[in-house]
Subunit: 253 residues, 2 copies
DNA sequence: CCGTATTTGTTCGTATGTATT
DNA sequence: CAATACATACGAACAAATACG
């Protein structure tokens, strides 16, 4: 009692893909050819192809055919936690020999709700500033980032937060020079989930949630344990790898 | 008339699931009932259900029916990087108010290949010790961990590495007391990928690669920049969340 | 630009097998 | 054993997208 017919056809096609007979991007035989080759009905070969689609191995294009999906060489997001003493944290995203670009930030005023309120430790409904940016590497959609600041920081004088300009020197150092607020640590929560529809569109991911996204939330704290901001970043997991360097670490190979 | 029939049926079912009409674990109407309700053929309602399966929303059980899948409350893997100076790193996985258990380690001697050789900076084919453990929380499969050590450490006197006993006090401190080797930093690579078949079985994940796994590789280094070991851990992404605390961070809510 | 051939997408019908209750 | 429910497999027709002369 072997497996059902469509499964055996699918397995054989998978093997032919793995063996390199069909390279990335190459076209598979058409339904008619598969039908003849395996002497099966059209619905059965279609079930086999659907099984391969379900595993993310191939994709179909109406009027054209069935193609092996392309694989992507992942970026490395490097978070460096070195330094002498814990006063200065260098937290850097390095895109090795690639050129990153950033959209102009979209600045909005919101009422804090849910995670935003609880992470920033402000009451639900209080005002927060959000800064949203789309980030690209070599023109490819790379990450979506939204940062929330308590409005109290603006009221204390950090007015640049509500200006729609990029701050390449970093907001943390801006807060230190402007308000004398010093970051002494941060917490990062990293979780993996399917993309929401907007993320799927931006990253051009399949709409079935097969490709997951990293969703990272970073909250830096000052000396008194008060959260300074909440930065939420979403990266597609198919083209990103997190690298965390702690302490003295030799350069990467 | 834009969307095909099976899509509209699927969307309506998805909405009824989201609205709570069908709770987690609840049974959906049978194919016959759906057929009558939507006045569609059996194949069409089956296509609708397959679409829902493809999104991981429901599962079918032959002879029983179609059911809404259960969601799982995630564990938090907490990595704490605090300490006074960077001499002692506390890297702890805290399972809050849950009881972790660990299988007896399976110890093997291998020839280093691929990532193992390159991360440990030993020649391909040289001997390495691997220690493999299955880890559970409250009896639920939680993670798979394999750690590789260069054989040179054993030859220098760290003979416990080739004994199949758990070392709860930690291998790093064992190496320090035995050989005087001190860890001064580490690199962690975190990536997300579909589970391989063995992982899917152990974690009881669907065999279609829909639920991703975290694959983490941690390499600690000594003062001379030499890698001490390579620890590869795999966690199912549907029940785990990474939390990274750096510097002075107030306790989690 | 138009029409035709090719290729996949959707929908129906029907029959039979397998798993569970 | 019988009833129920999903799984597999075949056939057929038409629709929609694409490629090409």
């Amino acid at each position: 009692m072997p497996d059902p017919r469509y499964r055996r056809i699918a397995e054989e096609l998978r093997q032919r893909i793995d063996s390199g007979e069909f390279a990335h991007g190459a076209q598979l035989p058409t339904e008619l050819e598969l039908r003849r080759r395996y002497d099966a009905s059209r619905n059965t070969v279609r079930d086999a192809v659907k099984w391969l689609i379900g595993r993310g191995l191939v994709e179909t294009r109406p009027g054209q055919g069935t193609f092996v999906v392309d694989r992507i060489e992942p970026f490395h997001m490097v978070i460096d936690i070195s330094g002498h003493g814990l006063d200065n944290f260098i937290a850097e995203v390095a895109a090795l020999s690639r050129t990153p670009t950033v959209s102009v930030p979209r600045v909005e005023i919101h009422q804090a709700t849910g995670v935003v309120a609880s992470e920033l430790q402000v009451p639900e409904g209080s005002s927060v500033v959000s800064r949203f940016q789309q980030r690209y590497i070599d023109g490819m959609a790379w990450s979506l980032q939204t940062t929330y600041y308590p409005m109290s920081l603006v009221e204390q004088g950090a007015v640049n937060l509500i200006r729609a300009v990029d701050m390449p020197e970093g907001v943390i150092s801006y807060l230190e020079t402007t308000l004398g607020i010093k970051q002494v640590g941060w917490r990062e929560r990293i979780k993996v989930r399917p993309p929401d529809p907007a993320e799927a569109v931006f990253f051009r991911l399949p709409d079935d949630g097969r490709v997951a996204v990293f969703a990272t939330m970073r909250t830096p704290f000052d000396e008194s344990g008060r959260p300074l901001r909440l930065r939420m970043t979403v990266y597609p997991a198919d083209r990103n790898q997190l690298v965390l360097n702690v302490g003295r670490v030799p350069p990467d190979a």
